[in-house]
Amino acid sequence: MTTPLVEMRDISISFGGIKAVDHVSVDLYPGEVVGLLGHNGAGKSTLIKVLSGAYKADSGKIFINGEEATINSPRDARRYNVETIYQTLALADNLDAASNLFLGRELVTPFGLVDDGQMEAETRKIMARLNPNFQKFAEPVSALSGGQRQSVAIARAVYFNAKILIMDEPTAALGPQETKMVAELIQELKKQGLGIFLISHDIHDVMDLCDRVSVMKNGQLVGTERVEDVTDDDILGMIILGKKPGQAA
């Protein structure tokens, strides 16, 4: 058995009285896509934000390539090659696509000044791959549609050679064609050996793209299953009733 790329072990975090994540363990292997499912407020986003450095867990450990990782900030996560597409997209609305894509990692000229031309050129390259219809490079991203904004967030996560990719509802605002391109992108990244956590409410998407699914309910892990072992209805049962397949209600 290979060592997992990521292992989140017994993670707990609460906000005030609410246990948003309650002793949850999930793992992820290279070249694997793991779906995270659950009702609204189940704790999916909170769990992956612990991995991306946005939150610090109250208890629990994170292992990356078998070694314990200390992730106290988004910067730390980036150092472990963890890239995240946040559900809220986390874009600075007043800046253009290129500035957002390179935010925190700007390309600079030999004088140390930001090289907007170079950054825009790189952005044009990657957007040509992800969303060929995208043309609004000069406007602030507040002038973009929801799907265009999502494309920018996706581009930012895949541009920097992630090893671990977190996608929190990456296709929620995308049209059918763009959604298909993201699905193809996921397949391609998977082939390159990335591990991907995919959060989605679309069970079909998840069944098509994922190797395993982990289901959460009220902050707790209901269970993790290989997709070939379960039906859509089994998964629905896990999400809604919180019961494992084969278990009596």
């Binding site: 900030s73 988004p74 600075a92 609305d93 007043n94 140390g112 602030p140």
Partner: protein, 433 residues
């Protein structure tokens, strides 16, 4: 909407001209408003408003507020406010005045007029301002006290620290070399003003064409050559026109005679000389260029605007927004100290009420200049233009003979109206923020 189906003849063409030139219409509007203001005052003062003498005075009166306004842009862009700038200016001014008149001559033993006095005083002042600013930033960034409260407290504290340090007395006269930063006492003279103007014009044109070359190197669309040349022409004309105006203001002959007498010479018959560009204005230009470079071309500037646009996104991108707050307030403090140099040198002493109400002028300048209080939006040139508009309004009304209370009523109303116009403009142009 309806106006798309019935296009006004000529409107499309006009818009496309502005589009081709890629001129910021908001900037154009502000320049337009400023010009109208100047012309109106010029008419009502029988041509006294736009004399070289008044333009010269207007610019030296604007410098202190304009320098601080550039720093206020960054503060407001990051969704903070600084109400303490006038008080901070007073504290820095008090510290520098005491260095020059008491501490350096008496405690350290440098003879009065020693060339190191102004240097050491200025350095101490800059350090004081930067440290106090950084302290404010730390309270805001790391202890999460709202900037409004920190700097409201700061206003009371530093205004009265200045008072305490000086026992409320006017301190002067300041070191003669120090005074060259005040305006009239330190100007470049005719030749050097032309040289500085020429360098500035050449640099501006070089930057325009450099950015064009870079754009085409990446294969991005560029404006047509004639547009580039037109803009360069306007920029060069504006710079040289400004220098010519300053150079047209001649030093009064009485003053010239005295200057010759001081050197033990007699003024030749018919001798004239111009003030030229004040060193304080040169200082403002350098600050403006430096702050614009920070805003547009450095990581620090990028992070300032990103944090103002979406603090959470900035944080998630690995930007240390707390430290950023410290840096922004420290920069504001340093600029307050710089303004303190200019303001006290202009008065040739430190007075207890120096910088009073400057916080309001500075915030107004930044806001009139298009800085959005919601954060994420603002320009350095806008803030400077805003400061110029405020100062013109104030001195113009004084020249026309408007009563003092009425002057302030008008300034207050203009501030509110300017923000309203800005909101309407942004809605029209479809910008979200």
């Amino acid at each position: 909407m309806t106006d798309t189906s019935h296009p006004v003849p000529g409107a499309a063409k006009r818009r496309s001209l502005l589009d081709t030139l890629e001129i910021d219409t908001r900037l154009l509007g502000m320049i337009g408003a400023f010009l109208v203001l100047c012309i109106v005052f010029n008419v009502f003062t029988d041509g006294r408003f736009l004399t070289p003498r008044n333009v010269f005075n207007l610019t030296i009166q604007t410098v202190s507020v304009a320098i601080m306004a550039t720093g206020m842009v960054f503060i407001i862009v990051t969704r903070h406010i600084d109400l303490s700038v006038g008080a901070l200016l007073a504290t820095c001014s008090a510290v520098m005045a005491m260095m020059q008149t008491a501490i350096l001559p008496d405690v350290i033993g440098l003879p009065l007029g020693h060339p190191m006095i102004w240097v050491l005083a200025a350095i101490t002042g800059m350090l004081t301002g930067t440290l106090i600013g950084a302290f404010h930033g730390w309270l805001v960034g790391y202890l999460s006290i709202p900037a409004f409260i920190v700097t409201l407290g700061g206003l009371l504290v530093w205004r009265n620290v200045a008072w305490y340090l000086t026992n409320g007395q006017t301190i002067g006269p300041l070191d003669p070399t120090f005074l060259i930063f005040g305006g009239t006492n330190g100007t470049l003279g005719e030749t050097w003003s032309w040289i500085v103007g020429a360098i500035a014009a050449a640099a501006a044109v070089a930057i325009l064409f450099q950015s064009r070359r870079k754009k085409s190197a990446h294969g991005f669309p560029v404006k047509p050559m004639w547009a580039e040349v037109t803009i360069s022409g306007i920029v060069v004309a504006a710079i040289m026109g400004f220098v010519a105006t300053l150079n047209a203001y001649e030093i009064p002959s009485r003053r010239l005679e005295r200057m010759f007498e001081d050197r033990g010479e007699i003024m030749p018959e018919g001798f004239t000389a111009s003030y030229g560009m004040p060193i304080s204005v040169l200082l403002l230009i350098i600050v403006a260029i430096g702050m614009t470079v920070i805003a547009q071309r450095t990581r620090l500037g990028r992070y300032i605007f990103a944090t103002g646009g979406n603090p959470d996104a900035a944080e998630l991108s690995g930007i240390n927004t707390r430290m950023l707050t410290v840096k922004v307030f420290a920069l504001m403090g340093a600029l307050c100290a710089l303004s303190a140099i200019v303001a006290s040198a202009r008065l040739s002493n430190h007075s207890n009420d120096i910088g009073t109400l400057d916080e309001l002028r500075v915030i107004a300048a930044a806001v009139i200049g298009g800085t959005a209080l919601a954060g994420g939006l603002g320009t350095i040139y806008g803030a400077i233009l805003g400061a110029l508009i405020m100062q013109s309004l104030q001195s113009g009304m004084a020249m026309v003979g408007v009563d003092a209370p009425l002057q302030n009523i008008v300034v207050g109303a203009v501030l509110v109206a300017a923000v309203l116009i800005d909101i309407i403009y942004r809605k029209r142009t479809g910008a979200k923020i």
